[in-house]
């Protein structure tokens, strides 16, 4: 094979295979350029950067939708639709397509939300949207990474703009502090992650996930080189640290409350939804990428080795999930600031999601259908979580604009002045608790049912049982602090010095909140449609 054919082969592969399946990311990248151009060129000054970004997001959503259709049509084939892009750096499959669509759709909704809530203002809009678009691009890559180098790059690509976003409220001490904490913490986590990657690469001689899995299965399966296994597990743990940082999993969650409280509610919405979705997708990607190999190639010792690898990962993820969920819910108890409360709520929900990841990992390689359902549950959870949390932060933003405060105490007696918002808050918070008939219940139910499935049919059943019990107890615990907010809103008397202007019958902000809250109810009752897409996401796990 000479250089020429290699180059032409690469070009051919890039142009014919990779780029068409990469168009969502391309559209986002082009939007970034457009927004920047519009800011720089005086001719395009009149263009509202938010609208440009929204256009890009809509295009990306459209392409994401079209890609999902492609996947949907080919799913019945064995193994689903799987295409490695750019020489194996990325992978395009049903999970990529679904998460990308989710991210793109979220982006569009999110831009609308920021336009309504008024942060950023027009002057800062271009910077803001460039950062948001850039971070989303990174998140898309997280969802499709197939190579540890890409994993690292994608995580950094998603994180670095987030650091800047956290400090976006210039001149606010809390915001600057939050940004600094986030950046330093992120740098630390990234360093450890990179160290872990280098350890893994050093032992296995590759960063391509499927190749790593095969090699790891071989090494562990033979079980002779205990030193290598030690290094491998250390490297894996360090990789997990980077991921846990993105997921804000305990004990790497410290940044989360400070950043959420310091940054604007809009930033919180972005971090808690998009970042979480991408991180969960990446976690699934890594668990399946490192824990399984493509159809049936694994046999004998390799398979046994892979089972051990999975066992290790499931335990790490599962124990972290238990800790994350419990700590998140407990720490939310005494919070007085709504954003900080939501930050802990985000931590807790990361815990629930990681329970699902653990269940999926436990079922992988044992019960393909069960693993698919577990991933589907995760995707469904992310889909509903998008609306729940976006709505929650939108409510915080709307109330901030109205009350000039984000303290829970300032919401006292809100039901008498803004009953509509209180109803929406009730819907959203009750859904976050996970009570029927709202979307959060269905999502949690699906996660727990995959745990039950894992209890029944996997070697990790004791752990799964613990997780299930902890998850159930946590749901009960979480009732308290969510309902406390509602109690303040409804039962407490209106403060004398309330500056609230009476809300009109219909406002743009109210409409937005309603538009976000309605799906929460809808998906709680008519959830089969969304679940259809979620099942599609799960179908990659063969």
């Amino acid at each position: 094979m000479d250089l020429g054919s290699l180059v032409s082969g690469t070009i051919n592969d890039t142009v014919r295979v990779s780029l068409p399946l990469f168009r969502v990311e391309l559209v986002i990248a082009v939007s970034v350029v457009l927004v920047l151009l519009a800011r720089m060129l005086p001719v395009l000054r009149w263009l509202d950067s938010g609208l440009v970004a929204l256009g890009g997001a809509c295009f990306a959503t459209w392409y994401g939708w079209a890609d999902l259709q492609t996947v949907q049509q080919t799913v019945p084939q064995a193994g689903g639709f799987r295409e490695e892009l750019f020489g194996g750096l990325l992978v395009f499959d049903s999970l990529t397509a679904t998460i990308r669509l989710l991210l793109a759709a979220f982006l569009a909704l999110y831009i609308v939300f920021t336009k309504v809530s008024g942060i950023p203002d027009r002057e800062d809009g271009a910077d803001f949207y460039v950062l948001v678009l850039g971070a989303t691009l990174g998140m898309c890559l997280m969802a499709s990474a197939n190579h540890l180098l890409m994993v690292f790059m994608a995580v950094e690509m998603a994180s670095v703009p987030s650091y800047a976003l956290a400090g976006f409220l210039k001149g606010r001490k809390a915001a600057s502090e939050a940004a600094l904490k986030y950046a330093v913490y992120g740098a630390g986590a990234a360093g450890i992650m990179l160290y872990g990657i280098s350890l893994l690469a050093g032992v296995l001689g590759t960063c391509h996930l499927p190749s790593m899995a095969a090699e790891m299965g071989r090494i562990v399966g033979e079980g002779k080189a205990s030193g290598e296994i030690m290094v491998l597990s250390l490297g894996g743990l360090m990789l997990a640290v980077g991921l846990a940082f993105k997921l804000s999993a305990v004990p790497f969650h410290f940044w989360c409350p400070d950043v959420f409280e310091g940054a604007a509610a809009e930033i919180g919405a972005f971090l808690s939804v998009a970042s979480k979705a991408a991180a969960v997708a990446l976690a699934v990607r890594l668990v399946f990428g490192l824990g399984t190999v493509a159809d049936g190639a694994a046999a004998g010792a390799v398979a046994a080795g892979l089972a051990d690898v999975r066992h290790f990962m499931v335990y790490v993820v599962g124990l972290m999930a238990v800790a994350t969920c419990t700590l998140g819910n407990l720490a939310a108890y005494g919070q007085t600031n709504m954003k900080r409360l939501l930050a802990y709520s985000t931590v807790a929900h990361a815990g629930y999601l990681m329970m699902g990841v653990a269940a999926a990992g436990a079922l992988a390689g044992v019960d393909a259908a069960g693993a698919q359902r577990a991933v589907a549950a995760l995707a469904f959870y992310l889909g509903t979580y998008l609306f729940m949390n976006l709505a929650a932060f939108a409510i915080v933003a709307v109330l901030r604009n109205r009350l000039r405060s984000e303290e829970i105490a300032s919401y006292a007696g809100l039901v008498r002045t803004n009953p509509g918002i209180v109803v929406a808050t009730t819907v959203v918070l009750v859904s976050l608790i996970g009570l029927p008939p709202l979307a959060g219940f269905v999502a949690k139910f699906l996660i727990f049912s995959s745990l039950v499935k894992a209890i029944a049919s996997t070697a990790e059943s004791p752990l799964m049982l613990v997780i299930l019990i902890v998850g159930g107890i946590n749901t009960v615990i979480s009732l308290f602090y969510y309902l406390r907010v509602l109690k303040v809103m409804t039962f407490d008397s209106l403060p004398e010095d309330r500056v609230a202007e009476p809300a009109g019958a219909f406002s743009l902000a109210g409409g937005l909140v309603a538009a976000l809250a309605v799906p929460v109810v809808l998906f709680g009752i008519l959830w089969s449609g969304l679940y259809g897409f979620a099942q599609l996401a799960g179908s990659f796990a063969s």
Binding site: M238, F245, P251
Partner: protein
């Protein structure tokens, strides 16, 4: 121009327009002008539209079916022949069918003998084609169809339907116009002086102008629904709808206890009648499987037409020359055990059993099987009519119903709804057996007599009219009961005009005097001449005034024909002569109390100056309907040259087979002869009847004038002389008291007993259980508070403290955070290597 297509369309629209008005006022009533002023316009516009459509339908009908004067081809000579007819009919013996009385003397020989065939031949030979009423029937919408049950919204349109539409919409129009003036008090806040609240003040409430017209529109829709209905199920639906409208309207001033009681009384008493009606409906449907009046033709998928016979042709099939017979369905239902035996014998071949049953049916019918079902069906339907048309013994609700606003009394409780019972008996007439007809006749006679006597002594102007209504409804029932189909329905139409006129006049008087008590009136003719003279017209019409054999008010014609038919019936059945005397006596009493009313109200000198000073003529919007109705009260009985008149129009709708008389009957153990109606037009009968009517009416008027105008006889003196009778009548025959003792008290007693058992026994038991439960709950609460809550609180405290401790870790110091990364990683590693030494690292 196909009337079969046009008539349902026109009348259907006329029927639905008031519904549209009802819906519009229901939803937008209060927003129609200030206090819903324009609701009157909406309702009136709707009913005027209905009137125009009905009139158009009337014209279409006349175009398709020209009305001609009946050809009295039989001449007077044939009167004598009847004896022979009746004799021959009676000689038939206990026959299967109710024999028709032959028309001509010569036909008597051709009457079917005991062999029981040849009926249809006989009819065809004697009269050419047998008389069939022109009618259109069909379904708009099928509510439900399954098995034998078919419930549909359909139409049955004949001359009677068209006539009733015109009458109802016309009177309703007049009353809508009148009411828009009469109800103007409701346009602003009302202080009801008849309702005293607990604090001693009178009730003050907002006006309910739109609500009145809303109910009125709904009533018109329901009433027209009864008239157009194509089957008994639909009749029943709208029957109940008019009932509920009546309840709304009687209870319009529901804050008055009397009004709400009267509304409930009307509704409950009607339920009693409707219970009987339901039994009748069940008997019909259970035995025959259809409630539709007319035959219906269904075109099957193969283009083959199947005719499903309706009630009329089941009871009076063409094969028997439309003579009433017990339908096959009722015969087989009564012979259920034999049918079961036959079916068991031919279990293998169902077709054989069907044919054998068909062959045995005539025999069973000869044996009288199924007759009871026929009687039950007829009496059941009549029961409903007794309730709705306020016949004895259920007439007690109607006088109380006068608590409603006067326009309601005029429309609902005199002209239309209460006439619905008479209408239904008329519509159902072909199905009624001689026994049932006799019951109807006697019920009508008793009603007319009782009500008339009570009216003699009543002092409330509206109550006099109410009892007069009951009495006149009795007339109609009696007329139908003695076979006078046209006479009864003719009186229904004329009565609708003059009674609504009378009520509107009384309303005008009440409006002016603010009292119902005639003893406080007097001399009003001077201040309200329009009302006075139009009311005089109404009085003359109701007593049937006229120049004998020349011309008269509308009541003259209809009452004469009732009298004539009653006379004709009592001549044929000497044992029932009392029916004739009831009619004649009733005519006398009617004349007396109507003129007593008129004299007391309008003549003489004012008896209460307070009332007289405030009296004034009513506004034009109220007087105009009076004049219009007065014109019709005079002219409704006339026939135009060429024969166009109510009676001849009704003749077109005469049910098949009823033009001839009927004989039969078994329940009373004797033969009854129902003479054909045209026989009452025969000279001897007619003259006697007319003379009697004139004489009795004149006598009544003269007596009334002697007592109340010329004051030759003192009413008080008469009352003293006949004290017991007077008290009995003034007490309204003590029917209310009787029912109170017989039904209301026992019911309340049972209710009290039940409530006593409930309170004394069941409640005590439940209280005891509750007490036990409370004790147990107290114990439980104690355990809960000390043990469970203690645990829970301890857990909660622990959780809360844990939460606070978690917060404590969150110091906010960046250096510590970064430290935690390292610590966390190491901790994770240590944990992992400890936990998995065996499995992975080992």
């Amino acid at each position: 121009m196909d009337p079969a297509a046009q008539l349902p369309l026109l009348l259907g629209l006329a029927w639905l327009t008031p519904l549209a008005s009802f819906v519009a006022i229901l939803f937008f009533g209060p927003r129609m002008g200030s206090h819903g002023r324009n609701a009157a316009w909406v309702a009136t516009a709707a009913i005027v539209t209905s009137l125009v459509l009905s009139l158009t339908a009337f014209v279409v009908w006349l175009g398709a079916h020209p009305v001609t004067a009946p050809a009295h081809g039989h001449g007077d000579s044939h009167g004598e022949a009847h004896a022979a007819d009746h004799a021959a009919a009676a000689a038939d013996g206990e026959h299967a069918a109710f024999r028709q009385v032959a028309l001509r003397a010569g036909d008597a020989a051709a009457l079917p003998g005991a062999d029981g065939h040849g009926d249809s031949d006989h009819n065809a030979e004697a009269h050419g084609e047998p008389h069939l009423p022109a009618a259109y029937a069909g379904d708009w919408y099928t509510l439900y169809e399954g098995g034998r049950l078919k419930l549909s919204i359909g139409w049955y349109i004949d001359a009677l339907t068209v006539l009733m539409f015109v009458v109802v919409t016309f009177i309703a129009t007049c009353i809508h116009v009148y009411a828009s003036g009469y109800m103007h008090d409701e346009l602003h806040d009302v202080t009801d002086h008849e309702v005293t609240l607990a604090d001693g003040h009178h009730l003050h409430r907002p006006g309910r102008f739109p609500r009145f017209f809303q109910a009125l529109s709904l009533f018109c829709f329901s009433m027209l629904g009864i008239v157009i209905a194509g089957n008994l199920a639909m009749v029943f639906i709208f029957w109940e709808l008019v009932g509920i409208c009546s309840w709304f309207l009687i209870g319009f001033y529901y804050e008055r206890k009397s009004a709400s009681t009267a509304a409930n009384k009307a509704f409950i008493v009607n339920r009693v009648g409707d219970f009987g009606m339901l039994i009748g409906l069940m008997a019909l449907w259970g035995a025959l499987g259809t409630l539709s009046f007319a035959d219906s033709t269904a075109v099957g998928p193969d283009g083959h037409e199947t005719v499903t016979p309706g009630l009329f042709s089941l009871f009076r099939p063409a094969e028997t020359g439309h003579a009433l017979q017990v339908p096959d369905g009722m015969v087989t239902a009564a012979a259920a055990s034999e049918v079961a035996t036959i079916a068991a014998d031919h279990a293998a071949t169902p077709a054989d059993s069907a044919s054998e049953i068909a062959a045995r049916v005539p025999g069973w019918r000869e044996a009288g099987l199924g007759r009871w079902l026929l009687v039950i069906a007829g009496l059941g339907i009549f029961c409903g009519c007794v309730g709705k048309s306020a016949q004895f013994p259920l007439f007690v609700w109607l006088p109380d119903a006068m608590e409603g606003p006067t326009p309601v009394s005029a429309l609902v409780h005199s002209a239309t709804m209460v006439a619905a019972g008479v209408y239904l008996v008329g519509r159902f007439f072909p199905v009624l057996s001689p026994d049932v007809l006799l019951v109807i006749a006697y019920a009508g006679a008793i009603t007319l007599f009782i009500a008339a006597t009570i009216a003699l002594v009543a002092n409330d102007i509206k109550r006099v009219l109410a009892y007069s209504t009951v009495s006149q409804l009795g007339y109609m029932m009696l007329a139908l009961g003695v076979g006078g189909w046209v006479a009864g329905l003719f009186h229904l139409v004329t009565h609708a005009f003059f009674k609504s006129l009378l009520f509107l006049c009384s309303g005008s008087v009440i409006h002016a005097c603010h009292t119902n008590d005639m003893r406080k009136m007097g001399g009003l003719i001077k201040v309200m001449p329009w009302t006075g003279y139009t009311m005089l017209v109404g009085c003359l019409a109701i007593i049937g005034a006229g120049i004998p054999f020349v011309i008269g008010f509308s009541g003259y014609y209809s009452k004469d024909s009732i009298l004539a038919q009653a006379l004709s019936f009592s001549q044929a059945n000497p044992s029932h002569t009392i029916l004739y005397w009831a009619v004649a006596g009733g005519a006398f009493i009617t004349a007396f109390y109507m003129f007593r009313l008129w004299f007391m109200t309008f003549m003489g000198t004012p008896r209460d100056h307070h009332v007289a000073e405030h009296a004034h003529e009513s506004p034009n919007v109220m007087v105009t309907p009076l004049v219009v109705l007065a014109v019709l009260a005079v002219a409704a009985g006339w026939a135009l040259p060429g024969g166009l008149g109510v009676a001849n129009l009704l003749e077109q709708a005469r049910p098949a087979g009823t033009a001839e008389g009927m004989t039969g009957g078994f329940a009373f153990g004797q033969r009854l002869v129902f003479p054909a109606e045209h026989e009452s037009h025969v000279g001897a009968v007619h003259v006697t009847a007319t003379t009697t009517a004139f004489a009795t009416a004149l006598a009544g008027v003269v007596l009334a004038a002697a007592m109340y105008l010329w004051r030759l006889i003192s009413p008080a003196g008469v009352a003293t002389v006949f004290r017991p009778v007077y008290a009995f009548l003034a007490g309204r025959w003590y029917f209310d008291e009787l029912y109170d003792v017989l039904f209301v008290k026992p019911t309340l007693g049972i209710a009290r007993l039940a409530s006593g058992i409930d309170r004394g026994l069941i409640d005590k038991l439940i209280d005891g259980l509750a007490w036990t439960a409370r004790r147990l709950a107290g114990l439980d609460a104690w355990i809960d508070k000390t043990v469970v809550d203690g645990l829970v609180n301890a857990t909660a405290n622990a959780t809360w403290n844990a939460g606070l401790k978690m917060r404590a870790v969150q110091t906010g110091r960046l250096r510590q955070y970064v430290m935690f990364i390292v610590v966390g990683t190491v901790a994770l590693f240590v944990l992992a290597s400890l936990a998995f030494r065996s499995s992975v690292a080992g």
